[in-house]
Assembly symmetry: C2
Homo-oligomer: 360 residues x 2
DNA sequence: GTGATCTGGTAAAGCGTTTAACCGAGCGCC
DNA sequence: GGCGCTCGGTTAAACGCTTTACCAGATCAC
């Protein structure tokens, strides 16, 4: 692999000159520029970014640490961040923590060794954020994504969970439901707490008491949606609607409903956080609070790069992105008699159930 | 950010000694080791991997260039590669090309500048692979993922598309179908060609003529699945089953079927490449050729690292990963009267259709 | 014509490591 | 007691680039 020295030699100039034509940091004559460029082309020379980084004490790599790229919410975020970053000459180095704080520590350490310019972080829950504190103390910019690291002052791009949940539950209430269950995430996570809070606020607004027996604490994974779904359906609660706090738990719940022979929305209305996109092909199409993942990623990356380049200064602040409620067929009017009317309000209406008889 | 010099100073040793205790490249006394380690801890020192990379002329970064991480097939691959790589001390630098060769070129160039040790590549289709040839000529190991770069000799981890498609279509034939349509990808891609080939082989085996009017060329995207689905359903073809060459086109087809009022599998059987995981919650559960994405990623990464470290030598070779056919409810016996029997053969049986009446 | 200014180029230091070469002290051995 | 080893540590060069300071020659004002 050729170096700047060989380019200089071939072009008959000094390495300083080569560097200047590459970076455009000084004027050169047309002739010299020409010679340098052809030398570069002929040698298939690529400037060594590693050497450059060492010299300028700055890389153009952004660390991106996420719980699990396999969760369909995150790829969107990554795309948003990557597109924005690439445009400005930055690169993403990604790693998954599986929500394990130990793994996160090792990843953050490795990323620090690589001297990433900044870090986009959706941290795993834990009560020891010392590795993040030290990271920041060492001068690396970090912006949190989707969740705060409690006790650590950083920029953050978060979803307005309270609002999303509140509007979603409000919608169920408007549809006549008064007994609405909730399947939450781990309540030690901020996200889960906020969504629960939105749920409670919506109920209180409508003077509906918050009933502990309608609150099911899950952990944001499919299995817990399934298990809690079984509990919810087996127990003789009188819930007519369920608000599920994320997409994959909803999948679990749907499985449970299938097994229990509970129909949606005829027997039970459903509204969920997260839009799985794919579910628009299958039935029931889900009423959902959709998070603009791409935008969140893009905004976070922009803030991070602005911090890195000093275009943004001052104390850290949080950006709350407002999600959108999309009404689809999984939520219906209560009592059932009113379903016909309810239907008319929906923006996205199913043409015909796929697995049900075509003509009835 | 402290450097090795400061650590050395604080520990009262030379920088060489510090390096040796970090890398374990030379024996040191217990006392010195102790002093160095505490100095490192107290200063919160992280070795500068950039400087190290410059010196040893090797990074531990692996470039991973994919068409689009938003396609649910790829995150699995990434996880497989990342987990394997991280274990061996490597990192993944990811970037998306959107199948645009221009973007791929820029990404490969950037990755070359960063002196990645190797590259995992699912290249965008094009008839000019010079950037890859030059990359290899410059000494960077590359292993292709999911698709070959035509005319470029590299290691590759590919799916046995012919076999997957053949077995899938064979299954439809065994279920009594004789008129089976196919929705392919862009036939200029190798993947699409191979799947078509498998389809044809299965038909020929069963002495069923290959009919041009049953072959619908799409482009692996949802929209084309939808459009071709409309065509297929509107035209009075006598297809009783469809084999779709990837998952998202199947989603498109399902939409078309919904609009046309065609039921699955009652009116039309379906089998598809790709397992969308999520579809197991919704109906119809899809009979699918599942690609072991995680394994593919892991194998590719292993090969790449073995090449980099010289543990693997010799001419490049291709690994063909065999997919698995999973029978579910979207494919049924033909004629319809036989459906009851067919059902018994399925490993995954639906309990009860979700949107259909619970008790009939 | 002469000193000041500008222009296009170069020399060289330094970024933070690794590592080959070196070196002195202690030690066992005849 | 002198020889050769081993052991534990150090010195210093090098990796490929950026960038400051410098320089020689051309240009210019007067």
């Amino acid at each position: 692999m050729p170096t700047i020295v060989e380019v200089a030699k071939r072009a008959g100039v000094s390495i300083a000159t080569v560097s200047h034509v590459i970076r455009g940091t000084k004027r050169v004559t047309r002739d010299v520029e020409e010679r340098v460029r052809t030398a570069i082309r002929e040698l298939d020379y690529f400037p060594n970014e590693i050497a450059r980084s060492l010299k300028v004490a700055q890389t153009r790599m952004l660390g991106m640490v996420l719980p699990d790229i396999t969760n369909p919410f995150f790829p969107e975020i990554i795309r948003g961040a990557e597109d924005t970053a690439f445009e400005r000459g930055y690169f993403l180095v990604t790693a998954n923590t599986d929500e394990q704080i130990g793994r996160e520590r090792r990843i953050v350490a490795a990323l620090r060794s690589y001297r990433v310019a900044g870090m986009l972080l959706a941290s795993a829950p834990s009560n020891d954020a010392s590795h993040i504190l030290r990271l920041i103390a060492s001068g690396v910019s970090v912006v949190c994504l989707d969740r705060h690291v409690p006790g650590v002052p950083t920029d953050a791009v978060l979803l307005d969970n309270v609002r999303g949940a509140r509007e979603c539950v409000r919608h169920l209430i408007q549809f006549g439901h008064r007994s609405i269950a909730i399947i939450t995430g781990h309540l030690k996570t901020q996200t889960a707490q906020e969504r629960l809070q939105g749920y409670e606020e919506a109920l209180r607004e409508a003077d509906i008491p918050v009933a502990g027996k309608l609150i099911f604490e899950g952990d944001f994974r499919e299995e817990s949606g399934y298990q809690l779904g079984r509990q919810l359906l087996e127990r003789p609660t009188e819930a007519t609607a369920v608000f599920v706090c994320n997409g994959v738990m909803t999948l679990g719940l749907l499985k449970a409903m299938e097994i229990e022979g509970v129909r949606c929305p005829e027997d039970l209305s459903l509204a969920t956080f997260d839009d799985l996109t794919i579910d628009r092909t299958f039935h029931p199409h889900l009423t959902a609070v959709v998070q603009p993942g791409y935008e969140m990623g893009a905004r976070a990356a922009t803030i991070l790069m602005d911090r890195i380049e000093g275009k943004m200064t001052g104390p850290p602040n949080s950006l709350r992105i407002v999600p959108t409620l999309v009404l689809r067929e999984s939520s219906a009017m209560y009592p059932k008699a009113a379903m016909g009317r309810a239907r008319g309000r929906r923006p996205a209406v199913a043409q015909r159930p796929l697995t049900a008889p075509a003509k009835q």
